[in-house]
Subunit: 469 residues, 2 copies
Amino acid sequence: MDSSENFFASAINKNKAIVNLEELSLWLDNIQKTSDFSVKEIPFEELDKWYFDESGSNLRHESGKFFSIEGLRVQTDFNGVMQSWDQPIINQPEIGILGIVTKVINGTRYFLMQAKMEPGNINILQMSPTLQATKSNFSQAHKGKVPLYLEYFIDASKSTIIVDQLQSEQGGRFFKKRNRNMIVEVTDDIVVHDDFCWLTIFQLKQLIKIDNLINMDSRSVISCIPFGNEVDSIEDFIAQAKLDDKYDLGTMKSIVSKKPLHTTDEIISWITNEKVTYHLNVKNIPLNEVNGWQITSTEIKHNTDNRFSVVALKVTANSREVASWTQPIVKDLKIGLIGFLIKTINGTDHYLVQAKVEPGNMDFIDMAPTVSCSNYKELEQTNRSVLFLDLFLDDQKTITKYDHLQSEEGGRFHFYQNRYMLAHLNEGIEIEVPSNYKWMTLGQIMELSKYGYFNIEARGLLACIDMFK
Amino acid sequence: MDSSENFFASAINKNKAIVNLEELSLWLDNIQKTSDFSVKEIPFEELDKWYFDESGSNLRHESGKFFSIEGLRVQTDFNGVMQSWDQPIINQPEIGILGIVTKVINGTRYFLMQAKMEPGNINILQMSPTLQATKSNFSQAHKGKVPLYLEYFIDASKSTIIVDQLQSEQGGRFFKKRNRNMIVEVTDDIVVHDDFCWLTIFQLKQLIKIDNLINMDSRSVISCIPFGNEVDSIEDFIAQAKLDDKYDLGTMKSIVSKKPLHTTDEIISWITNEKVTYHLNVKNIPLNEVNGWQITSTEIKHNTDNRFSVVALKVTANSREVASWTQPIVKDLKIGLIGFLIKTINGTDHYLVQAKVEPGNMDFIDMAPTVSCSNYKELEQTNRSVLFLDLFLDDQKTITKYDHLQSEEGGRFHFYQNRYMLAHLNEGIEIEVPSNYKWMTLGQIMELSKYGYFNIEARGLLACIDMFK
């Protein structure tokens, strides 16, 4: 086995950090302090180059590029309940790149991360992948600079591709949006530009335990790291991991286990059955025909004021491809809850996966976390129930393994945070699992995820799972 | 290992046939002779319950069920050449079941096959899966009988599911059509109805070497048989296979090899790159706006008379769910060529897979055979070239491993046959492989195919691969 391929082993070299976490914190503070980045909400009419088109008030950029805000009419019989609604949706047909450069230096693997300001982030500055570029970015639709490090992702002679997958984004907010998630390995020396730094996997797993620091795009790419690929003999590996005393054995076994509750063929059959049983009809409609929503001078909002809205921002920056710009953005101040329930079955951790319909999904049903709901606090107050939500908030029944606020992507979402949780069911607590849920090992989730089966919320949560003690 | 799971071993019991091939031939002749099944082409105006709708002449059934013939406007930049065209397309949004019942009797695995008449088959009678039913069939939209054996596919208490996958059909003729491909195992005795018989895998692989006998739906389901799933130790297995002298070792190694030319991650990256590089735009349009085509009283046809057409049939039968009916059908008298090129690389057979855009694909690019072209004889005459086609017809460069005519599905296609070929490149013959082709082992093809990556032509050809001597 080539040591450069070994993600587990290189990840636990705790002392091999190039910058330690205190230095990182100071570095981020300094970037924050010395930056000139301001964001303010503006009326739609002050948008520059963006306009409501004549045909039906869809909100577009005059170049025809970037994205547009359109209307969607939705009807589904999912779970046997006929539901229909209209909503605004982001249409961004271009496929961008979310990519991390990785390098093994003196036997330790590092990932090149960027401190990046995004207008929608609640704290502006978060850690993003090395490259986070829409096609309009790198084909220079807005005539800015070429993104740094782009060449390592598009020129095969400069790197070795480790991960390169099409992955979806929020099916509730985007219409069939996918990005290319990439990890590329370099061996030559490369320049570390301002605002970039090398971090180990161990450090990333520490930093992901800080609220709103590792951004959504980073979490999506980190979820694709092929842990376990390098494991030839599972028994030897588990035996060694026990000796090392550096790994969380429950998590490790869940990644490499060959004895899952359900075979992969059974899981494929289950997904087939869900897709055959239920239906989704969506129809693109003009924004001004979206029932239940209104367009004001400053907002596209639901009549109840109880959903997300679309607003306009003016951004002034000195650290981006262009120095200042205006843009529409989806705003959501209410915090959702996204969680995987974990149960030890036959000695191996299994995660409860939900088959979930969302209107913008590529193939209408994607694999989602056990719970994924918006505005969970209001749910509590109004007694509306979301299946399994109570288990996450009940320390008699579960042990919380992870509980942090994370932001959704700051280029499209304004102030939008979710509470990400991993909750391990206590021994002896039995739960009934309806037909649209399935227990899977981490290895199975990672395998299916390669083929694009898992939604962004599930992948974001996968990235939070720490296999190190 | 449970013997009931062992598809390889149970398949080579040549002497364990319940009916031998001569008996089968007599049995089929008898069904053919005693049947009352007639098909004739009629003008569209004689169609019963089918009509050209007012909005744009789409051809529909008055129940709103079954399928319709609509128009499609297509534009793609695939392979760097901008192309656009209009065409009729079949829209059949319902997902049906193609299913085979399997049973292990005295240690040998059998598959329950049906002798079935279809109006479009050039020879009327072919062998179909146990169940071949559209949702309209089994929800009885046409008020006929419930299909035989349906219960084994929809009632979990009656069988164990072995295969259950959503698989696509012709992306050049159907708009995003998928069927559920199933293999279910029974242990109880079940009644073998008239026109049904138990066949071994060995027999199926023999029968598939007869022109136009194993129908398209059967080939699609047979391609999903999980050969190799049961293999724990590849080395032991290959050693045993060598001793047995019953297996084609090149094929066996290609199924179980762990040393393919490209890793699965590399193949996923390649597919990602193809999907990011190229684009497909399709727009559903009314049939009477399809440029280059005309609707006559008896045909929807291309102005050049050089493509497929849509005609109407009147069918009289005594062996179907309903006794007689009329229907539109896609007619194509010209024979296409569908072939995989095989090459031994590092001692293992690799198959050359093409990434191919077709307008009706679920996700625009599917994995296809090396060559897949219509009317290949005309191509020869007109000097229009199809990449690699010449290799299939040149016995200096390749050894032909398989070469038979097979029919496309007789419920939707009239007289439509393709020449299916497997051609093994001779040693020393080097070919240049463009970026939209990739060498894969059979094991890799079968793995990706589980997730719906391979088109119907590729799967049909997979079914023809014989791993037995």
